[in-house]
């Protein structure tokens, strides 16, 4: 058993969750307050990656980002970014795949906040950004934590997409989920169990502490 896949997994989950916060929060904000007709379409699009089997989604991403392709080679040549068989690629794929788990809870959290909080801030001359970060987000901590927990856990367990686009390269793209899968396939059940238990234990502790914190918030939010 090696520690590297486990470390890589938590790195991936952490980086992905951070990016999901950065992307998901503004998106959720827009979705929560917009009256545009496009809203339902965007909501649906955000959910769609869930619908494809992960390996197939991975396959399409593989084709899209392949340097053999116009788009992939453009990324490579002009931005110097490669998304396949790299850690960056895993992050990108995980972001696409876990996006609804961040966006949905944050969106419904924001939609449930009394609109006066937002309006009070605007009347004080504050920008939308300031309002979002100083007023709105601190008051939907339970929803934010739900989003973070679901994204984090889902990324840890992600496997199909990651296997396809990452290719199981030790130290680079061989995350714990793939390592466990590998050991099961290799009939090394004791190693697989070992990995599983450790992954389970660490994640259990992380989630438990989050939920214990969350419990406190939930109570204060639930009037």
């Amino acid at each position: 058993m090696e520690w590297q896949p486990l470390i890589l997994t938590f790195q991936l989950a952490l980086v992905t969750t951070v990016f999901l916060l950065i992307i998901g929060i503004p998106l959720a904000w827009w979705l929560a307050y917009t009256n545009r007709k496009t809203k339902a379409v965007v909501e649906t699009l955000v959910t769609m990656p869930l619908v494809l089997p992960p390996t197939v989604l991975g396959f399409y991403l593989l084709v899209a980002f392949s340097p053999a392709n116009a788009f992939g080679s453009w990324l490579d040549e002009w931005l110097g970014i490669r998304f396949i068989f790299t850690f960056e690629g895993l992050v990108l794929a995980s972001i696409i795949y876990s996006l609804p788990f961040m966006v949905q809870p944050v969106q419904s959290g924001l939609a449930n906040l009394p609109s006066q909080l937002r309006e009070a801030s605007y009347v004080m001359g504050k920008s939308g950004m300031t309002t979002l970060f100083k007023v709105l987000l601190p008051n939907i901590k339970p929803s934010l934590l739900t989003g973070i927990v679901l994204s984090f856990a889902h990324t840890i367990g992600e496997f199909g997409v990651v296997l396809m686009i990452g290719g199981n390269i030790p130290g680079k793209t061989k995350v714990a989920s793939i390592a466990i899968y590998d050991e099961v396939e290799a009939l090394n059940y004791s190693a697989a169990n070992m990995y599983s238990i450790i992954l389970f234990a660490i994640t259990f502790l992380i989630l438990l502490s989050v939920y214990l914190l969350n419990g406190g918030y939930f109570k204060s939010a639930g009037r």
Binding site: Q116, E119, S121, Y122, V123, G125, S127, P138
Partner: protein, 292 residues
């Protein structure tokens, strides 16, 4: 001078109502919007603050155009120098009292005003508490202080005191009066409470179904005139009791219960709950402080 001329079609429960408001306020005036539920008071304040877009109209504040639908001007709330106290306070639950006030500071402002306001409105002792732990009256004071931090041109108050008990209410009325004078504000208050309107405002606008039905000083609007020699009180009949040949009518005037002896002819058709006027021909009142 503040010129307000707004039209907006509001869809009430069953039908449409056209809000059609014309107001001209002096600088430094304390004006009150008075009217039944659904008359359009809150909507008027929201259009002033930039939180609702009028269908048509203009708002010109001290020669600056905030709204002119013909010219396509509609400043966002951020660019209007308005302070707004919401009926349900809208304090930020995640911030302490002090942080709520500090949040309102503009970048160029000195933070001294926060302490000044906390002193004036007696919030200093509460400064580290979160809104969730405050009583209604305390919350209201914080909301008022917060609306004043930016020294707005116009202070808008949407039924700020209606849910408070009378003791706190009187205290907050005093604060309102104090800050209105001290900061030379133009204040627009929404209130249902006639004594409050009397006490605070220079000018009352009575809204009925979206238009200003009457306006004037409180005494003019509520029709009691300026009394001098003769006294009249309005009150409500609590009880009518027949005692031998006369009737004893118990009337509630404010918080006072008065018993009046009346002839049968005087009380014809009178019933419990009616509004009545009690007047006297000769009345030599003496005044006396009530020990608190």
């Amino acid at each position: 001078m503040i010129h307000i001329s707004l039209q907006k079609i509001l869809n009430t429960a069953q039908n449409l109502m056209t809000l059609n408001i014309e107001l001209a306020l002096e600088r430094g005036q304390f004006a009150t919007l008075y009217g039944a539920s659904g008359a359009g008071k809150t909507s008027t304040l929201r259009m002033l603050a930039g939180l609702m877009k009028p269908d048509e109209g203009q708002i010109i504040v001290n020669d600056k155009t905030w709204v002119d639908t013909d010219k396509g001007i509609n400043l966002p709330p951020q660019q209007r120098r308005v302070g707004l106290v919401f009926q349900d306070y809208a304090l930020f639950p995640n911030m302490t009292v002090r942080k709520n006030l500090e949040y309102a500071l503009t970048r160029r402002q000195k933070p001294d005003i926060v302490d000044e306001l906390m002193d004036m409105i007696e919030l200093s002792e509460l400064q580290d508490r979160k809104p969730g732990t405050l009583s209604g009256g305390q919350k209201q004071r914080v909301a008022l202080a917060r609306a004043l931090v930016q020294r707005p041109d116009i202070l808008l108050l949407d039924e700020p005191l209606s849910a408070l008990d009378s003791k706190i209410r009187i205290k907050l009325q005093d604060y309102l009066q104090k800050v209105h004078r001290q900061y030379g504000l133009t204040t627009i208050l929404v209130s249902h409470d006639i004594p409050e309107v009397f006490k605070l405002s220079d000018q009352v606008y009575v809204l009925e179904d979206g238009v200003v039905a009457r306006q004037g000083s409180p005494a003019e609007v509520f029709g009691y005139g300026q009394m001098s020699g003769k006294f009249r009180f309005t009150g409500e009949v609590l009880e009518i009791r027949k005692e031998e040949v006369v009737y004893i009518v118990t009337v509630l005037i404010g918080t006072n219960v008065v018993k009046v002896i009346a002839q049968e002819s005087e009380i014809a058709g009178l019933k419990v709950g009616d509004q009545v006027m009690v007047a006297s021909k000769a009345f030599n009142p003496v005044i006396q402080r009530v020990g608190e």
